[in-house]
Amino acid sequence: MACLSWKRGRGPSSCRAQFLGEHMARVKEKLYEWIFAALAFSSLVFLIGIVWVLCKESLPIFSRVPLGSFLFGKFWYPTYCPPEFGILPLILSSVWVTLGAMVVCVPLGVGSALYLNEVANFRQRQILKPMIEILASIPSVVYGFFGVVLVTPFLQKVFSLPTGMTALNASFILGLMATPTVCSLAEDALSYVPRSFREASFAVGADRWQTLIKVVIPAAGSGISTAIILGMSRAIGETMTVLMVAGGAAVIPKTLLEPVRPMTAAIAAEMGEAPMGGDHYHALFAIAFILFIITFVFNIVAEIISRRFRIKLGISR
């Protein structure tokens, strides 16, 4: 072709001369990119840092107490002589309180989300959705405070208990606290269900309730379960509420009407008194590590489910 006849003399050498001035600019561009990359990696560093710190600070306890008897030991007497480090009561307390919270927040949260998405008209939704999101920001310590001054005396009177600070109280408050989060996330999932799904259902003569039960909920099912899992993850990791209202007894709970000491409460309540570097200190770090693993697994599961959900509904992000 004709371009072959061009003066090939303007090859690499002249090219270099012409663009020498541009060279600095390109170096600068690369520099910016590297700075941003370095800063981005720092978030990775923090996660690794957290894992590393939790590992390092919790390992010493396992040289004193084997992992099995740490996890399944029935007695948590960290300050006795000799101390006992069995965190089964704490784990069970966490499980009880979290399950109790789920009983409150799943029906309320998902029900509210369904109402917002399916029943409420546009105006109602415009007002209620932001309100839910604003209420989701109420600090946990305020919930805890509310639990202490109002719910505790109430439960004590109703069930004539020695103390109103029980697993039930903690479950109720935690559930209430997780409700806006679950509702907001579930509503997001519902809003991703394409309108065409609903129209197809209406077209074959289904009413709104049938459409909701048979089409919308199955379509948004994995999105809703992501919301529930994240709500659970939030409930199990929540500290201040359970610290204030769960009562704090580190024994294996038999009913919901007994005081309990979930893992987070144990860490928050005892870290202040645990001598730094002692067994108790390391044991508390080990509890935090276990807590970290639990929430980590929850988050990964939620991530996997939500990714499938997005693929199913064809949402690219």
Partner: protein, 253 residues
């Protein structure tokens, strides 16, 4: 064909991943002429035009082989800064894409990123570009309004003005009228004919009448290949390849 051509592609192959989008493209773009690239959608015409100012580099997992010359210099060589090439080869896109800034800033932006700081100079250049893009009379009273409030056709002419402000040597149009109404389309076409005096222009279009109206040379792309390239009249009156004829007479596409 002679030495005076402005741009030229030589054995250009382009791949998205493993899929070949362009095969052995050899095409010349002559100075102060309008070169149209036509073909059915998915034939690689937009892909090709984006190579000419190295916009393809923004898409990951692509490979490009061959050479593309601008004034005899291979712009694909690693020592060539794509930023510099894009200053010399401007581009107008399919959908009007003004910045969410006011009209004045939209046009001055190209100058500012090219380190021009002189206020007087910038002002003059903004007015000059708007006039050249035939937009001045419509916007002279509201230069500081948001560009997003303009109509689609005005936005597209604003995008052309924005390009002109940088004083490129070549203007690439990637289906500039695809999202415009007939009246705006006519204005843009008139503008292209006007701009031909000062610029070298390449335009991608799926509208054959448009190619016939504005271009001097036309290339017909099909499935990633350049089937035929010649003077526009020849392509439309007496195409050599039967596939070109089929396309132009509307038998497919």
């Amino acid at each position: 064909m002679d030495d005076s051509m402005k741009m030229c592609s030589e054995n250009v192959n382009f791949f998205y991943g493993r899929q070949q989008a362009l095969k052995e493209i050899n095409l010349n773009i002559l100075p102060n002429k309008v070169t149209a690239i036509i073909g059915p959608s998915g034939c690689g015409k937009s892909t090709f035009i984006r190579l000419l100012n190295r916009m393809n580099e923004l898409v990951p997992h692509t490979t490009l082989t061959g050479r593309i010359y601008l004034d005899g210099q291979d712009i694909l060589m690693p020592c060539v800064d794509p930023v510099e090439i894009r200053r010399r080869v401007g581009m107008v896109f399919q959908k009007p894409n003004p910045f969410p800034k006011n009209i004045f800033e939209n046009i001055s932006y190209g100058l500012e990123v090219n380190s021009i700081r002189n206020k007087r100079f910038i002002e003059e250049r903004v007015v000059e570009s708007l006039k050249k893009a035939a937009l001045w009379d419509e916007v002279k009273d509201r230069l500081y309004d948001s560009a997003l409030n303009l109509s689609g056709g005005q936005q597209q002419r604003l995008c052309i003005a924005r390009c002109l402000a940088v004083k490129p040597e070549v203007l690439l149009f990637d289906e500039p009228c695809a999202s415009l109404d007939p009246i705006s389309t006519r204005k843009v076409e008139e503008l292209i004919l006007e701009l031909k005096k000062d610029y070298t222009i390449a335009i991608v279009t799926h509208n054959m009448q448009q190619a016939a109206r504005v271009s001097d040379y036309t290339g017909f792309f099909l499935l990633g290949e350049l089937i035929e390239f010649d003077k526009t009249e020849k392509i439309f009156k007496a195409p050599e390849d039967h596939r070109t004829e089929d396309y132009i007479t509307g038998r497919f596409g």
